[in-house]
Amino acid sequence: MLDALKPAAEEDRTHNQIISLNATNIANQVKDFVLSKQLMFSKLVGIGTDGAPVMTGKHNGAVKQIIDFQKEAQTNSDPGRKCEAVGVHCAAHRLSLAASQAGDGVPYVKKFKDHLRKLYDFFDNSSVRTAGLRAVQELLDNPKLKLLQPSSTRWLSVGNAVKRLKEIFASVVVILEREAEERDDVIAAGLHHVTTEYKFVATMLLLCDVLPTVKRLSLLFQAQWIDFSSLSKYILDDMNTVDGAYLKTIGEYVHQLSQPGVEIRKVVKRGDTLDHHEVFKTSVQLPFLTQLITNINSRFKDDDVIFPLLSVLDPKNLPNAENLQDHL
């Protein structure tokens, strides 16, 4: 561990004093470690990072500097025998970036995430409101569950938060309405207004369809062993289905909400010829899905080292037996 803030104790001269966490210092620490453990730079084949600019910067990044050390250490080796490490951007980070950037790329999805957070904060800040939610849940015989916290650092949290919201949606809306009326709570009124819009419900169901797939991919990418080729095809197909299982049932879902008295407003702008679902489809669903798939594909497109390495060792990539016959 690198303790950048603590000055070195008298007896501890091997560690550096107060240093800033810049690329050069990081690279130097790695170089010192390699040298002190008498490891061979010629055996350094890969460097994994979280993709931050300090690491991956083309001219001054830590990875580039480490590779420079590597080259320096091999100046006396034969030309064909010099090893150059590959800088790898963490697969899980890339996926997370792909998903969050797709969301931020569609204005309403970005807003939706914000609403989600505000909804959580509304209840988290107050035990009275939480108790109120619980009371409503008892009344409506809904699941007695709280909202979950969406966080940008906990990668899979947004998916969990949306799913939970979907499950307790009716009770949340009812309590928001009550708080707004009985306590003149402006925030509750605002939240009630945004959550009862058709677009909100549709986006919620869309994310319930899509995010579990992203979650599955993310967990796969964090495993001991990743085989990119086999998983990418069928998982991306999963996301390609325009109307997922939850979104398909939106009509029924909205209808069921009316029972406890939750009215979903089908807002359409004046002069717009499309109906509310079409508006959702064109302004939210399609842009989000296409952006997500594009992002994932471009971040995981074949590179010229890792992909060939994985490919050549995989027998299923070998040409078919029939082709072999043709060439005999």
Binding site: V45, Q74, E84, V88, D227, P308, L324
Partner: protein, 168 residues
Amino acid sequence: MNPRNPCDDESDDPATTDHANIQGTTVTSLQEHGNESIKTICARFGIEIEPTVEEWGDFKQFFSDHQRNLPLREVTHLLCSNETQRRLYPRMSKLAQICCVIPLHTADCERDFSQLNFVKTPLRNRMNERTLDSIIRIVVEGPPIKEFPFIEAVRLWAQRKKRRLKTV
């Protein structure tokens, strides 16, 4: 390729277009298959190209005839740990080792960083670097608490020096 905005990258890297062959979308003979990739990989990692291409030929033949359905994970395991395979395909073994070693994700590091927050809490903020390092190492890598030999630990502690134990 700009890692921040990969969608901005419009150029077509010539190296990647060769991989259409690897995917099997174009018909390639077994002899031709993957040769370019092998050369690129060898050049990058400092492995002798000619002997490796030769070995690759034998490798392809064998796996095409006998082990088409072996998953990647097992192929690398075979090449890394099986003595016979290592002698037969020394350079393919080297590639398999590289394949196993290159990190594809940093999730293990991130988990450790997360653990840091649970160990070095606000009340323990003056913790020594070495103590922190040791504790995290034990939490992350060590055996489960159930396996901790409490009796043994107490005995070792008692043997260290003479202690006067106050008994009330």
